[in-house]
Symmetry: C2
Subunit: 476 residues, 2 copies
């Protein structure tokens, strides 16, 4: 499901502002906007950045269609402005963290440099794509962190927030899932798909045994039997064992049994021991039913012999945090730095065209991130963005740039990656994050600071800020 | 955003089961499936049924595309089955509650009669569309119930769960919202759209006053000024008043001022009294910032003079209940009734082809709903589905059928309605629901019972249920 009409996949006010910029002759002024979020979701210690590829693809083909323009005219937009929109292509430049990167609050993980009109007009689209995919990739990473090397399959499409399920399945893979039940996403993103039977399959036969036998003959290479339709241990399991024996006699192997109800810790142990006693050690156990990182962690801590977890609703809806509250704020217009001040300091933004350096310890671990002005020299000391007497010395670590050039003058420069490559990148990056930042609850807060120059720039702007005068600072 | 490839907008197992039905010659057997949910979301007392129109539209045009079939072949599906899919059209018959209807747990609000293959294959699509839209329409109805006659605008696209934002905006209108900021949804569904400026508009000018003036000249008929960029009462409001005066001198009127931060109760009162003192009683006040039914109820109870609420994240993600857990269960196959039994009785389904009667009091209020077998005589007494000594006498009320024929042999019979018509229907229906069922918390539970015949049918099936024998009952 590509965004077929990106020009109107936006909030009304983006276009009223765009018309205003155009009519007042400001639309070609250069501007820089930052995407950042203020708080990790799920009380997590980090976010897995996700959604960039869909954003870049959509921006490359972004244009208003004739039907969009006709409709906008009927909504009162001006003919001369609509002519400008008819010509519009996105020709901005984007610096961004890579997909799968581990990122933190306050960091400008996407920087858009372009004309005021083009940088403004993509706001809603960008937020819609990045906020949701990053939310779900982060949820999936939490689940992966407790599931260790067990197989994780996304079962969420039926409970996803409408069409959101497509991007949710993509983000789940980036966050560490192995496969999905969602065929649309599997097709579009090249994800392994999986799925066998529902209870209705069993109910459509005169007996459970006949239902199992029929399936095993039809799918001898990928047979997982759902054994909890009537009585898991009294009927489903014995029937599955009968069918496993019959498959053996034909040279086939039953792949797994699946349970979708009951106490999964208790049942999985009973099932494992029965299967093992019958010499069916190779038959795996799959489990589903309202799973999430908390339930899976509990099952793992009880040594439940479950090989595959099917996770649905609580993955694809980001249960616990319905949205990542990322925002998109202007930081530079024309030749002036600007920022949004707020009585609530944490709601303030940071001025200027910025970049991020990640500091690596001699052991190769992530130590801290520095937000600084673009082109600024290497930073040796960072300051807490708001509590500025809190500072850290970074001289024992070496910096690496976190943002890469993703799009130059409207053409993408970052190649499309396979999802498994992005997932591997996530895994490698998470390995460099200290385990104290990866706790599911009350994680140790990772240090993100700003440079002295950025701090001083903001303070100067703050002092000059008088709403009826100049609120921005000229920079040469 | 139509579902461009409905055949693969599904879970993998729908197609493995379909292939199994086809290969074992069962695919043409008649079957009935029910859609129902077991629990109201948000601890609400009802659900607003929503999403039917998208479902019917998609089913009418449902077919597998050549690219789907080629891809499914590469995933191991059999050529002869794929030939069947190539010919596949949905030719089933659907009885459904109307969109905007007030519905309750356990009610089969959609009944699909068709071949086993066609009724099975649409499961995921149906659940995806109905679960989410019904969730958001219900959330919107809760918000409307506390907002009384104030204007409600959906601002959620940037925080929606990806493409889910499109259906969220539709459902919000059905649930009682007046307009949306989402242009895509406005275009597709004919919804009024609204939006004026972000803080970036203000920041792009040398002064707030100049930003306001420019906007007022460009949009004299729909000018809402965002007054909290620098200092709401010290700068934003005085500047807005200056511009309002200037507009008056040109024969125009400032429509509204908007606040997006701070204590909305305090600021709205200060703003109202300043505006009134200046003779600007006609200027309205719009407020946004993490609103939901709880915050709005609090603002209303404090008599906050706010005329328009912009509601975003918490509306479009269904904050508090990330999903409506609706399910789709087979109740009749061939000439046999069937149902899913569960140790947890509330997870059981109800057997047979069913219909719902809504009982109306002599005063025209909803009294109770009866689930009965299709074609059964008028029911005078209903029984709690699980605690069957709980029963109610309905003789003082008259029954009305709740389900209507929505699709006959694959052709829709229910005309498409405008969203405002559906919203009006919701309003009329909610008026007939006693206020005790409409409390935001701890609502009085509405009575939904089953007929004696349905109860006996289930009990007979339950007694005969032996997983290795016949689990279903022949009906002539």
């Amino acid at each position: 499901m590509y965004i077929d009409r990106p020009g109107i996949y936006t909030d009304h006010y983006e276009l009223t502002m765009a018309q205003g910029y155009f009519k007042s002759g400001k639309h070609k002024i250069g501007a820089t906007f930052d995407y950042f979020f203020r708080k990790n979701p799920f009380q997590n210690g980090y976010v897995i950045f996700c959604g960039l590829n869909d954003l870049l693809d959509t921006l490359e083909q972004f244009q208003f269609q004739e039907q969009d323009l006709i409709w906008l005219k009927s909504r009162g937009f001006r003919p001369e402005f609509l002519e400008e929109l008819a010509r519009f292509r996105f020709e901005g430049t984007i610096y961004s963290a890579r997909e799968g990167e581990v990122v933190f609050p306050m960091e400008p993980v996407i920087r858009v440099d372009g004309s005021l009109l083009e940088a403004q007009i993509i706001e809603t689209l960008l937020l819609n794509l990045i906020n949701f995919q990053s939310l779900i990739a982060t949820k999936a990473a939490r689940i992966r962190s407790v599931a260790r090397n067990k197989k994780l399959v996304d079962f969420g499409l039926r409970r996803s927030q409408g069409l959101g399920g497509i991007h949710a399945s993509r983000a789940a893979i980036i966050g560490g899932f192995d496969a999905t039940s969602n065929l649309y996403a599997a097709n579009r993103y090249g994800i392994p798909s999986a799925g066998t039977m529902a209870h209705s399959w069993i109910q459509s036969f005169d007996s459970e045994l006949e239902a199992f036998r029929t399936y095993a003959r039809e799918f001898p290479d990928s047979c997982t039997l759902l054994i909890d339709t009537y009585d898991t241990l009294g009927s489903g399991l014995p029937n599955a064992i009968t069918v496993a024996r019959e498959m053996e006699s034909r040279g086939d192997q039953l792949q797994a049994v699946r349970i979708d109800s009951g106490d999964l810790a208790y049942f999985s142990r009973q099932i494992r021991s029965s299967l093992d006693r019958k010499g069916l050690e190779y038959v795996q156990i799959a489990a589903s039913n309202q799973l999430d990182e908390v339930v899976i962690a509990s099952l793992i801590s009880q040594d439940s012999p479950i090989d595959l977890f099917g996770v649905g609703t609580r993955l694809v809806t980001g249960q616990g945090s319905a949205a990542l509250g990322g925002v998109y704020k202007v930081s530079h217009i024309g030749n002036r730095d600007t920022f949004k001040r707020s009585n609530n300091e944490e709601k303030s933004s940071l001025p200027g065209r910025k970049e991020i350096s990640r500091y690596i310890t001699p052991e190769g671990q992530f130590a801290a991130d520095a937000i600084k002005l673009a082109g600024e020299h290497t930073v040796e000391r960072i300051y807490h963005p708001f509590i500025t007497h809190k500072e850290s010395d970074l001289r024992s670590c070496h910096p690496e740039p976190l943002l890469v050039l993703a799009m130059k003058d409207g053409k993408r420069t970052l190649p499309t990656q396979q999802l498994h490559q992005i997932s591997t990148y996530r895994e490698q990056r998470l390995e460099k994050l200290d385990s104290t930042h990866k706790r599911l609850e009350n994680p140790h807060i990772y240090r993100v600071g700003i440079s002295r120059t950025l701090l001083e720039t903001r303070d100067r702007l703050m002092q000059r800020m008088n709403p009826n005068n100049e609120k921005t600072e000229s920079r040469s």
